[in-house]
Amino acid sequence: MEMTRRSFALTGLTALTGLALGGTSLSAFAAGKAGTLRYGTVTEVTNIDPHIYAGNSWKVLIGVLYSPLVTFDTKGEIVPAVAESWEQPDAATIVFRLREGVTFHDGSALTADDVVFSLERIRDEATGATLRGYLVDCTIAKVDERTVEVKKSEPDASLLSVLALPEAAMVSKAWVESGVNIKSQANGTGPFTLAEYESGVRARLAANPSYFIEGEPKLETVDFRMIKSDDARVSALRSGQLDMIDFVPWKDIDMLARMPNFEVDSASGAFMSVWFNATRAPFDDPRVRRAMAFAVDREAISRAAFFGHGTPIFSAPTPEDSPYYNADLKGTVSLDIEKAKALLAEAGHGEGLDMELIVYQGLGIYTTTAQILQANLKEIGVNVSIRLVEWSDLVSRKNGADYDAMIYGVSMKLNDPDAYSYYLGSESAYWAKPIGYRDETLEALLDEGRQLTDQGARKAVYAKAEERILETMPWIFINYREQAQAYTRKVKGYVHLGGALSEAAPAISLPKIALD
């Protein structure tokens, strides 16, 4: 109470002398303490369990607090982390050799038991871990104090990439079992420790003095501010209260890029798509889904909804810089009203049909995309009514199969074409996988691709898989949206990454960032 009364009085003082006071304190804001990066991030992180994905800001936090066995570097290559080396005796097995002297933030040493415990925790149904589906048919064994073997029942070319994701974080067995609240405390082996944390508001990260990579991190402190409002995040950067923001709103990318004191990096990140409910007629008919795919004006959506910062997808969502990109498929699905009408007529809906499109209300990119889709589909006689919903409503409708179609942006999950089994496979644990869709041909192709190790052979298989996906069209692929990061020019060493590493890019760069 005393405190409140005092701040009450001080408030009055400030209101009266606001300008003078503000003037002095702003210089403190603008100058920034040496070695502190002030980072504005979009998601309000309220649960920092390192095994349960909770938005892209979560990925950044977990990525620097914890370490997986292996990790991605700024070129997207898999490099050692907690494991110093690994070998693959066969296509289903990886044997990890642990680095010596890795310690958790609480000072205890990381052991092979901790590694086994961490991976078992992901596999445990009770955890609800994001990567459970990938690791559920693994056996994890401690070979000796510094060696752990991860073995799948079938060959899996994507296993190493999965284990390099931040979601495959190593936790301390003793710490977790001591009954701490892992949703709001952290004890990892990453480059930063969690010095202060207020759920959904802010986090202060301090450099981990005993981080296992020499010379990292370069920053002393990272101040995370979770600012959900796009406008507030941008004005905080522009007014000098922040050094870096993520998820730059598309409308502001060009504006910030034109300003001399800011750097804006952008790269294709998530891709936008329309999801159908294939348990409901007529969306169970591939011809209906394909018809709509040919009616979408992808250029218009990229221009209007993303202010030019979107790239139309005229085939399937494998990025052009991926070794698995198949140029032959490009243009397979493009704007062709006649073809769309013909397909719809063939499916027996020549007179048109009505449908409801579920759209997340929180972002302009979704509502504008929905409006363009509505106009596009009108041309082939499909009357779309748009229903704006909040996020939780969208998730429960999706899981309860209570929708005709919805649009959503899917962030790329894996740096490997096996991502398709995660997105579209009927066994996938992915919440967004198409409901009521199971295509035996595609399942067989995806199984085959996962079990091959030769890149050339895999490429041929995934080309066929993509062809099949476009024939059956469980999702309509619209475009890649650019994800942009903006920062002041005194921030050095940030490397922006696209595709599957888009969300993890800040976490990969943070230990290497320095301030001028």
Binding site: M3, T4, S7, F8, L10, T11, G12, L13, T14, A15, L16, G18, L19, L21, G22, G23, T24, L26, A28, F29, E44, T46, N47, I52, Y53, E125, G128, A129, T130, R132, N181, K183, S184, E198, S199, G200, V201, R202, I227, K228, S229, A232, S235, A236, R238, S239, Q241, E390, W391, S392, D393, V395, S396, N399, G400, S428, A429, W431, A432, K433
Partner: protein, 317 residues
């Protein structure tokens, strides 16, 4: 006075009890399920995992059992545990309530410290240019909605002039000066509207009071118009002003919803908003109870202040 206080306190407690029931029911009536929201994305709503978590959280029990468990613990001062973070709700509330009170206090201060002089000025200089200007300022103040004045304040002071932080929160203990400068713009945003109201009511009430015989008597004794106004008319003119402050102070609490979002101020309202989006029932319930309690407390204080200025209030209670 004691009887008056006792009467008011018991009705406040009754209101709070009714509020608790309403709060519980309202939280459950929002469509959506916290477990699906948490596990929906991570596990695709796997029925076994969902059932397990519902059981852990006690959400599989009947509404009546859930309510009585919650109410019993609430009576012991236990607000439960957040579904999202697993931390006690009370910890969150104790962190957030002072921040929202700061905003309300800042807004009140802006309203009173700017509104009263503005109202007196426009009453005193009625018919003159300065009076007209103060009237115009107060009209602009109360006709601009918070989300308009707030955005203008951010753009002008935060982005163009860069004299005040455009948004954000710094704990008082970390940097007191920075903490207070972060508070200036949101206080102005939340208080400007109210300032207009205070100025208008002060002006009208003063002009009204000036027509009274005792003011005429004071003038006849040779007091200047200004002195008669401040010494004799103003104290009596304050009664409706305090009443309006009392009625509208609760509105400031409502204003914090927009202001906290606009200025990224982590108070009680933003906690309620984010908890609502994820259906974190214990947090929704806890913050609503806290908001009710603050609202009731404010009206209690205003009643006391009013009874202090105007003994008739005590008599009618």
């Amino acid at each position: 006075m004691l009887r008056f206080l006792g009467h008011r306190l018991s009705s406040a407690l009754l209101t709070l009890a009714i509020a608790a029931v309403a709060v519980f029911l309202v939280a459950r009536m929002i469509p959506g399920d916290p477990v699906m929201i948490m596990l929906g994305e991570a596990t695709g709503g796997d029925p076994a995992a969902v059932a397990r978590m519902r059981n852990e959280l006690g959400l599989d029990r009947s509404l009546f059992v859930q309510f009585s468990n919650w109410a019993m613990r609430l009576l012991q001062g236990d607000f439960g545990v957040s579904i999202r973070s697993g931390e006690p709700v009370l910890d969150d509330l104790l962190l957030r309530i002072p921040r929202s009170l700061e905003l309300i206090a800042g807004g009140l201060l802006v309203a009173v410290l700017l509104g009263l002089p503005l109202g007196i000025l426009s009453a005193r200089n009625r018919g003159r240019l300065s009076g007209a200007i103060s009237s115009i300022v107060s009209v602009i103040g109360f006709s601009a909605p918070v989300f308009v004045s707030g955005v203008i304040l951010v753009v002008v002071f935060g982005v163009w002039l860069q004299v005040l932080p455009s948004s954000g929160y710094v704990p008082f203990a970390d940097d007191p000066l920075l903490h207070l400068s972060c508070l200036v713009l949101p206080s102005l945003a939340i208080g400007l509207n109210f300032m207009g109201v205070v100025a208008r009511v002060t002006r009208a009430s003063l002009i009204d009071t000036m027509d009274n015989d005792y003011v005429a008597l004071a003038r006849a004794k040779g007091l200047s118009r200004g002195r008669a106004m401040i010494r004799h008319a103003l104290p009596n003119a304050m009664v409706p002003v305090i009443a309006i402050i009392g009625i509208r102070a609760g509105n400031l609490l409502g204003g914090t919803v927009i202001v906290e979002a606009l200025f990224d101020w982590p108070g009680l309202s933003s906690l309620l908003v984010s908890a609502s989006f994820s259906r974190d029932y214990p947090v929704i319930q806890g913050s609503l109870i806290a908001i009710f309690a603050i609202f009731i407390l404010i009206s209690l204080l205003i009643d006391l202040a009013q009874s202090f200025f105007d003994p008739r209030v005590r008599a009618t209670a």
